[in-house]
């Protein structure tokens, strides 16, 4: 298929995102908070409004035309996601509210059925709170124990320590693919293979990775993979849990209600087949439908093209940041997604964030929901600039200029 974007055309990409023309504090918006959420292209916004304007209906059980159209569009997203991550079966794709719900689903459903006192769950020192707290909750109720892979000074996992943690007590490893706070890309394929060797299963938190990296769940051989729509240029409120069919089939439902049942009587109910067993109630149809538009958009431009562009931005930003006196990059892993996290000697991240905002530059400051990681580096938080396909070198120059101004004012 001939793609429209055979070469990476930044002007045409920027023109696809209506928000980018707006101003903030009378300055052109420079949006560098993409690891928190990405902006939405017009095609996604159109898909949302088209759904409500043209074929809004409840899905799966209606026999009228609108219901059929809505069902077809909803299920088409499932097929698109299946291709996007190269899953083996469409019923392995479960729609959730996001990565947080995906992880909670596994923790409660799989965890409750399979964990017992003394079993071990391995996570890492760079997990987002959403990949820590669900395991703590399930550990509390089952008596399972959480073990943590430490992080080195570069912000990489200490793999030799991981191997030491693995034992016959290890039942599940839940690991972030790419760190939201540092950008580190973790060697998940190696982590998965080692866990499988001792009979443990692995969940990969793909919240940050799925927008940047090619994902092939069959090649990774992960048992679960979690995706967030709004971090892949899609709408908020929708996410994906991929799970291997055999494992999902053996898992009890997570939430009960309509849609997820086969038959209901007051004595006993039986569960619907995958994936519907895990999709109770009327789902988030509009956002699911629009997610397909986002994935199609990303695939049309090409993840390889996007990654090359973002890698160049990261390299340029890192180099420019390091040229500022007193700036220290937090997270110097060899393999990173486009996240530049940094601290500045004698300056509080919040002050910098306020002054950058004053110049139209949106960055994230704080602990990025990774308090244990911040503690490990002995800092209260960082300033994080994270780049997407629509960012430019000129925008990085704007940030650097604003940073220099801020530092002068604050020191």
């Amino acid at each position: 298929m001939q793609s429209v974007h055979t070469t990476f055309n930044i002007e045409s990409i920027r023109a696809s995102f209506p928000i980018l023309i707006r101003k903030v504090k009378d300055k052109p918006l420079v949006y560098f908070d993409n690891a928190a959420t990405t902006q939405k292209p017009q095609v996604v916004i159109d898909a949302l409004t088209d759904y409500y304007k043209l074929y809004n209906a409840n899905i799966h059980r209606g026999i009228h035309s609108l219901a059929e159209e809505a069902t077809a569009a909803y299920e088409a997203t499932r097929d698109t996601i299946k291709d996007f991550i190269n899953a083996g079966h469409r019923e392995e794709i479960i729609f959730t509210r996001g990565v947080t719900e995906s992880i909670n689903l596994v923790a409660y459903s799989w965890g409750k059925a399979n964990l017992k006192a003394g079993d071990e769950i391995i996570i890492s020192g760079m997990e987002h709170h959403s990949n820590i707290v669900p395991w703590q909750l399930i550990a509390e109720s089952t008596g399972a124990i959480i073990k943590v892979i430490p992080v080195n000074d570069q912000g990489e996992l200490m793999m030799e320590e991981y191997y030491k943690l693995l034992s016959e007590r290890t039942k599940l490893v839940s690991i972030v693919h790419a760190s939201n706070a540092l950008g580190t890309i973790n060697p998940v394929k190696e982590i998965i293979a080692a866990a499988h060797n001792i009979g443990a299963i692995v969940l990969v938190d793909g919240a940050q990775s799925s927008v940047h990296l090619d994902i092939d769940v069959q090649d990774l051989d992960c048992d679960f993979f979690a995706i967030s729509s709004h971090k892949v240029y899609g709408p908020t409120g929708i996410g994906v849990l991929y799970g291997k069919k055999a494992i999902l089939e053996a898992m009890p439902p997570f939430i009960g209600g309509g849609e997820m049942i086969s038959e209901v009587s007051f004595e006993k109910s039986t569960w619907n087949d995958l994936p519907y067993k895990f999709e109770a109630g009327t789902p988030n149809i509009a956002d699911t439908v629009a997610l397909k538009a986002a994935i199609d958009f990303v695939r049309e431009i090409g993840k390889g093209n996007i990654r090359a562009h973002e890698d160049a931005l990261l390299q340029y930003a890192t180099q420019q940041l390091e040229s500022i006196e007193g700036v220290r990059i937090i997270g110097q892993a060899q393999h990173k997604v486009s996240v530049a996290s940094f601290v500045i000697d004698g300056v509080h991240p919040q002050d910098v964030g306020i002054l950058l905002d004053n110049n139209g530059v949106a960055v994230r400051t704080g602990h990025h929901c990774t308090q244990p990681l911040m503690k490990r580096f002995g800092i209260p938080g960082t300033i994080r600039a994270s780049f997407a396909m629509y960012n430019t070198r000129e925008e990085i120059d704007v940030m650097i200029l604003a940073l220099n101004k801020a530092i002068k004012l604050l020191r």
């Binding site: 919040q350 002054l355 400051t365 704080g366 101004k405």
Partner: protein
């Protein structure tokens, strides 16, 4: 002894000071300058129970009650917040619990800080105001129970 300015008078004074600035840079520069000039809090006061929740940065605040007047001291690890809290102290310190509780603090709006600081951060500012009024309420109750 010079007459103590009323809360409203000090608010008006600050509004006039900010009216001199044309740009946001200048306003922030002034706030940062106030932050830098705020007297540091003794380390013994920098403990968990004196922290104000709701801020991205850490704010510690203590108060005392003497001769019917409340006095506040505070510090933060972030200098803009320190500037904001120093303005609050300048307006509210040295007044009676009743005056503090009834203060509307409209100057925050009038110098544009409320709109200018994003929701989460202005919540931090509101947390500080809330804490100051709470302290005043406690002192008022103590007074009544005497």
């Amino acid at each position: 002894m010079s007459e103590v300015k009323s809360i409203l008078e000090t608010e008006q004074e600050i509004i006039e000071e900010f009216a001199l600035f044309d740009t946001w840079e200048e306003k922030y520069e002034y706030i940062i300058d106030m932050g830098k000039k705020l007297k540091p809090l003794d380390d013994i006061h920098k403990k968990e129970e004196n922290k104000i929740k709701g801020c991205q940065s850490t704010v510690w605040m203590v108060s005392d009650f003497n001769d019917g007047k409340v006095n506040y001291k505070a510090e933060s690890d972030a200098v803009i917040v320190k500037g904001l809290v120093s303005m609050l102290i300048r307006v509210l310190s040295g007044h009676t619990p009743e005056e503090i509780i009834n203060a509307k603090l409209e100057f925050i709006d009038q110098i544009g800080m409320k709109q200018h600081l994003a929701q989460t951060r202005s919540n931090g500012l509101l947390s500080m105001v809330k804490q100051m009024k709470l302290d005043a309420t406690v002192y008022q109750a103590q007074q009544l129970n005497k």
